[in-house]
Amino acid sequence: MKSTFKLALGLASALVASTAVSNVAQAEDLTLCWAAWDPANALVELSKDFTKETGIGMKFEFVPWTNYADRFLNELNSHGKLCDLIIGDSQWIGGAAENGHYVKLNDFFDKEKISMDDFVPATVVGYSEWPKNSPNYWALPAMGDVVGWTYRKDWFSKPELQKEFKEKYGWDLGPPTTFDQLKQIAEFFQKREIDGKTVYGASIYTERGSEGITMGAMDVLYSFGFQYENPKKPYEMEGFVNSDKSVKGLEFYKALYDCCTPPGASNSYMGEGVDAFKSGQVAMHMNFAFTWPGLQKDENVGGDKIGYFVNPKGPDGDQFAQLGGQGISVVSYSDKQEAALKYIKWFANKDVQSKWWSLGGYSCLNAVVKDPAFPASQPYAQTFLDSMAIVKDFWAEPSYAPLLQASQKRFHDYVVAGQGSAKDALDGLVKDWTEVFQDDGKM
């Protein structure tokens, strides 16, 4: 009886002790929320160093891109405590700052001597500042990203195709520098037999549900002369969003979709684009730079078979690219803000940023990307740098969600469903966006 009692007491003590230990460990653990994609896996690997250095454990909450905004904006709006740190999309910054979801980092940056001058300027404006172009920082630039293109270098270098292309178009087959050239190449490859397989011209963004077609169409529209608003009069969109140049840009995007994409590519975004390229379906592929490390390593299409090029120029020589990427922020509802700030401080360190790049993340730190060895460090590094120099981003207003939904609908209705004209779509977009800004009291 006595020994049974002792055993029970021992077990109970062990249980209490283990619960206490696990509670202590949990109290120190930080949860980082982000999208489920390749860079997130790299961050898990990188964060092991943080745990080693500080003893603070890291947990991760990764959500697929298609649900990423829904899931985490719901979490922030409900003042949830799930995320201590969040790598939120660049367009969320306005809403997150104005609604108090993110901790303002200015004082922390001053105290820890973290200077925003040390980061690529476009990423500071895109991922950290609200209001834009003002020194109010809500995030540390974490993952640089931009829309660019990959192409099948092995197909482009086939002598018989080079000869045929030159005869047909009068210039050497190679990475395009203008959108006209890009379309010619896409037409050339469309439904062509290569190595016994029918291939197609290009994979572009056409996804309807989240942000796909907007990211793709804007990537083209910017270089055709599209502007969000009158640079001298904020929120005046008539004649800028629906200018003749913008109309031509949208017509071009539809023409590209109609002539040169694989069958059934009416709802294609990052994942579908990667699949199309990896399976050898397309000659060119529009996608965010984060996909490049994975493609480079791919056995079938990577290595010497893949090449990269910056988003081409428009008819007037303008050249821009759609900004992607995110900054890392501390969630203001977290009970572990101090530990979360420790993580930000650690992440801003140059050695950590160098390792981040080597693992497949895209550092935004000047010391990393301006290192003389950087362009040669990966086959896509120079294209990434060149692309980051020409970025533009979608509205980052607190009302970015309805603004995005409007463009998704207008673009998809015209480009994929073929309803109305490009002019109708852009006029409609001006009307929708005007309503949103009127509701916000900004017009």
Binding site: N77, G209, P263, G264, N267, A401, P402, A417, G418, Q419
Partner: protein, 315 residues
């Protein structure tokens, strides 16, 4: 023996509890038992409904908790009823509901009638027919998306085999004319067995002696079908139509998985529009008003229909 057991159970009831229960009337006891259900119903059904009605008159946005909530009166309702996109979504929904119900009723009743013949192996075939409705809509949506794939999908190959049109040209989900039908086909495939089951119950409920009397009167099979089978199974068919109508009016999962409302807005049914307004654009007040309009529409139509159903039953 039984009395002794009941007695011992009564004695086993702790005295304080027994004292409390002894004072409760039958009516009180009934309330005691149903009160958890009522509370749950109030918390998860009735309160949200009234809360949504309140929100529908405001400019509330769930993503801006710090903003002042203004009373807009009927502005949200006026805006919805004047919104062309909403009407297009309602038309798409009506088109979808009409065709799915028509096809499911026709095929479902035919299958039920065939199964009711009780041929050899009819039980096995009944089970096979029921398989689609046992699957999760998420599974069905995903595998049909692959089946519809123009490059690797079996559906495209089957159509190509029959028609001679190259499979890569059969883009069910990308083509504006075909996309609505792609959803109608899947919904019909999945839910026809459900209609069949209800119709089968109706057919089995018809007494055999009525057919025997008709045989004596030398009524033809065709006459028996029109004068006995169809009228007597009609309340069941109408019930199946009611269930499927309500379900399909708020159809979301299949459309979301197959087309996401696309291409363009071709398959954007009312529930997809509602979700986009509520959880993507965060226009909570506006979407609440839309939800209330949809609720009233379904409730009103269902009521009219139930009255018609009762009349048919009384005949």
């Amino acid at each position: 023996m039984l009395n002794r057991t009941a007695d011992s159970v009564a004695r086993a009831t702790p005295e304080p509890l027994a004292r409390k229960v002894r004072g409760i009337s039958d009516k009180g006891l009934a309330w005691l038992f149903i009160s958890p259900t009522i509370l749950l119903l109030l918390a998860i059904n009735i309160f949200p409904l009234f809360w949504a009605i309140y929100l529908s008159f405001t400019n509330f946005r769930a993503n801006r908790p710090n903003e002042v909530v203004k009373n807009l009166g009927l502005a949200n309702y006026k805006r919805i009823l004047a919104d062309q996109d909403i009407w297009i979504a309602m038309q798409t929904t009506a088109h979808f509901v009409f065709w799915t119900i028509l096809l499911q009723t026709l095929i479902g009743f035919t299958l039920a009638w065939l199964i009711d013949r009780k041929f050899r192996g009819h039980a096995f075939w009944t089970t096979i027919i029921l398989v689609p409705m046992m699957l999760s809509p998420a599974v069905v949506g995903n595998f049909w998306r692959f089946l519809y794939e123009p490059q690797i999908g079996l559906f495209a190959y089957a159509v190509s085999f029959v028609t001679g049109i190259p499979a890569t040209q059969i883009s069910m989900l990308s083509n504006v004319s075909l996309a609505p039908w792609s959803i109608i086909i899947v919904d019909t495939w999945m839910w026809t067995p459900y209609v069949m089951l209800i119709c089968l119950a109706g057919l089995r409920s018809i007494p055999e002696y009525i057919y025997e009397a008709a045989e004596v009167d030398r009524a033809s099979n065709w006459r028996q079908f029109w004068s006995i089978t169809l009228p007597m199974a009609l309340p069941f068919i109408m019930l199946a139509v009611l269930f499927r109508g309500i379900e399909n009016f708020k159809m979301f999962d299949m459309v979301n998985l197959l087309t996401g409302g696309g291409p363009g807005s071709t398959t954007e049914v009312a529930s997809i529009t509602l979700k986009r307004q509520a959880f993507e654009s965060w226009r909570t007040g506006y979407s609440s008003a839309f939800a209330i309009i949809l609720f009233v529409a379904v409730f009103g139509l269902a009521n009219i229909y139930v009255k018609a159903l009762n009349k048919v039953k009384q005949r």
